[in-house]
Symmetry: C2
Subunit: 447 residues, 2 copies
């Protein structure tokens, strides 16, 4: 029997397909409504999923959009992840709440404090997805003209995470004694100032939030680059990966799990959860029809915008004709991956942009419940996944399809829980509570 898997649900915007907002069942303003997300989170919790997740960018990424494309995209107006997940903490009881925050345009004290607070509010269900910001559109909202170079971003990110983890250790678990008789509120030997002085940050501490129910929130990462993998191997509890095929997934899994020992960690201390966008039907034809129906809702002006950054303006060509060979050698070089894909699979322009518009980089799986669960089981058996980050094409319908059609089959094979194992996200994921850096030491206490 295949071992149990973990399942997250990504719920940004109205789903991962660019046509989602035009789907007849989708509320196009859902991304600005609490009720939309309450419906999703409660359904996911009733299905015993491990966590809901919100990806994020700090601004509208207008770069490379040709005129007329941006106004056809629903990926423009939304709520902010931390406030939204905090609201959901009050109306859910078991499901994990993972929000993204950038290390590029934030300060570690704010992030440590806000996520510690979310961990208290939720009774131990907070997670932080650690990212760096790579777009000029974001840089321009934060006093810069261009985004930071790659090396600086990752160096800053690594130090940022160290500071945040340090601040989360400020209070020992038993620091608050609350002795009304003696008037002692906390034991001063159990409160610690971090006194961090580094290249990017100088942070004294201590944090003004007591130690959280999970010891510290779950750390999530999506590190695909070498520096990203290093941050993940050192600190992450969960990695959302983006492998496109099983062999690539297996190689990534082996590489990242192998890197853990360098940081004194064992392979089971980090869970790898590739993203998948599912189209599920009672028959393969029904699944394919669901897929095609959403594809037809992507206006070619919007669709061409996904090729614009690499291939330039293709609006003069027939979208149902072949992908043109660029004359400009520089464009040929930038668009190499897309051109190879188009040639290999003999795609039209419309089919080419659909490969992006249908999931924005997540792997697509189209089929019956049996097909979908076979695929998941194969990845787990091959050593390519500990679970999956579900990225439904539209919400809530795409999630409902998975829960109603695929989840019973996963359970029938003994691959997914029927009850939560505990109360915290850490307990659901089967991860140990971290030790404080001050455990067994007297150093650093507040005098």
């Amino acid at each position: 029997m295949t071992r149990q898997i973990k399942l997250g649900l990504s719920m940004r915007y109205l789903g991962y397909h660019a046509g989602a907002w035009r789907h007849p069942e989708v509320d196009p303003e859902g991304a600005s409504k609490l009720s939309h997300f309450v419906r999703i989170a409660r359904t996911a919790e009733a299905a015993k999923l491990d966590m809901v997740f919100l990806a994020d960018g700090i601004g509208i990424r207008t770069k490379d959009e040709p005129p007329g494309a941006l106004c056809r995209s629903a990926q423009t107006a939304e709520m902010e992840p931390l406030t939204l997940l905090s609201a959901l903490s009050a109306v859910t009881s078991h499901i994990g709440l993972v929000a993204t925050a950038s290390t590029t345009y934030n300060e570690p004290f704010h992030i440590a404090r806000k996520w510690a607070s979310l961990d208290h509010l939720s009774g131990g269900r907070a997670g932080w997805n650690i990212v760096t910001s790579w777009s000029d559109a974001e840089a321009r909202n934060f006093n810069r003209d261009e985004h930071l170079d790659y090396a600086t971003r990752y160096e800053r990110a690594a130090e940022f995470v160290e500071v945040v983890k340090g601040l989360w250790d400020s209070w020992d678990e038993d620091a608050l004694v609350n002795d009304k008789q003696t008037g002692i509120f906390f034991d001063p030997a159990k409160l610690h100032a971090l006194n961090h002085v580094g290249k990017h940050f100088k942070v004294k501490g201590p944090l003004s939030v007591k130690r959280t129910p999970q010891g510290r929130p779950i750390l999530v990462q999506a590190g695909a680059s070498d520096q990203g993998i290093d941050i993940a191997a050192e600190s992450a509890d969960v990695v959302y990966s983006v492998s496109q095929d099983m062999e690539q997934g297996r190689a990534y899994y082996a590489k990242l799990k192998g890197r853990l020992a360098r940081h004194g960690r064992s392979p089971d201390e980090l869970l790898i959860m590739p993203g998948i966008t599912h189209f599920i039907g009672a028959t393969r034809q029904e699944a394919q029809d669901k897929y095609e129906k959403l594809n037809a809702l992507v206006d070619p002006i919007l669709g061409l915008s996904y090729l614009y950054g690499q291939m330039g303006d293709l609006s003069g060509y027939d979208v149902d004709g072949p992908v043109p060979e660029p004359n400009n050698p520089q464009v040929r070089s930038i668009a190499k991956g897309l051109l190879e894909l188009a040639h290999r699979e003999n795609l039209t322009i419309r089919q080419l942009y659909t490969t992006i518009a249908a999931g924005f980089g997540t792997r697509l799986v189209i089929g019956t419940p049996q097909d979908v669960v076979d695929d998941m089981e194969a990845w787990v058996e091959a050593g390519a996944a500990d679970g999956f980050n579900l990225c439904p094409p539209y919400l809530p319908g795409g999630m409902d399809d998975f829960i109603q059609l695929a989840l019973p089959e996963l359970r029938r094979r003994g691959m997914f829980r029927t009850e939560y194992e505990g109360k915290t996200l850490r307990e659901s994921l089967g991860l140990r509570k971290p030790r404080s850096r001050y455990e067994g030491k007297n150093s650093g206490a507040i005098k």
Copy 2:
């Protein structure tokens, strides 16, 4: 008949009295529990109060604390205001949610985005209390050794508020057309980039959150200095003032209301709500007993710490003896206000620190429901207040006393609502929705 007043409830920590956490009815860990704040917010909402409020500092203010004092203070471990109020937005329906955020150690894009999000989550009940950060303890959590000088802080604050207001105008109210037939999600003529370039900030925009139910969140300020009053007169909807007596309150009220015309605003566009800490009993003796009972719960080590910054270490003196005259002329100068108070009212050391420990600068009112409402009515009649920011000595008990004992008397005099006037905080406060800076203009639209 006195006109209707507005009422806010300040709910930081466990109340405004330093002895609150030792009160027999108080849960000393309440400040880290969602259930504690849900109880308070729902009770305040059932009583039709305008809003709940959280003051804030970004770190533990250890400065000037002598050894042994900090560990006797509950003002050390708490949750972060924005996450906490976001959680409360999901379990309340009418009460306003006002959270503090510093302009000194934040970026305007984050603040604009998060508060716009809270306004959507709550259906139009968000407020931002605008502050600057003045303590070295906070500076040291944000890469600095000392806090910014006063002038820089206020200059930055004024520009910060302008940027935030500008970002909140990014989307016209009717920008989202959501036309599933044509595929147009928003009207690009109704989305505006701010393109702000100033001394402290460069922010392009637009904001990635659509225009909020209140047009923009309510802006709150506590400006007592001249620069503070200017920011308030230009932008604030509500001011929390700290006047200690009615004459001072009347003068402040007249000065601030008089300043509004400079910014093209009328006096009724800004509400002034002085803070009060009430001790209420069926008789005056009962009220006084409640006050004394809490005072007795302030350990002298903690009490002396409130004098430490101005008067130095007084631990060698009898706390129930007279306040000693400092030999050092510099100390005499710094402690001038406290020394005058001690002489005028013939206070012991214990009585002197109690004036601080009992409300941290808010005005104390001790008496029967009749006394308390007489006092409020007198302030309103005198032109010193449009309402009050209630700062209960301990929570939830101090709030319950006000609601059960004083509120019926306020209502009997026709001074407070029996039902909410609408759904948003702006409607409760009787304030108009702001116009967008782009109304009637075509400039600034995204192409």
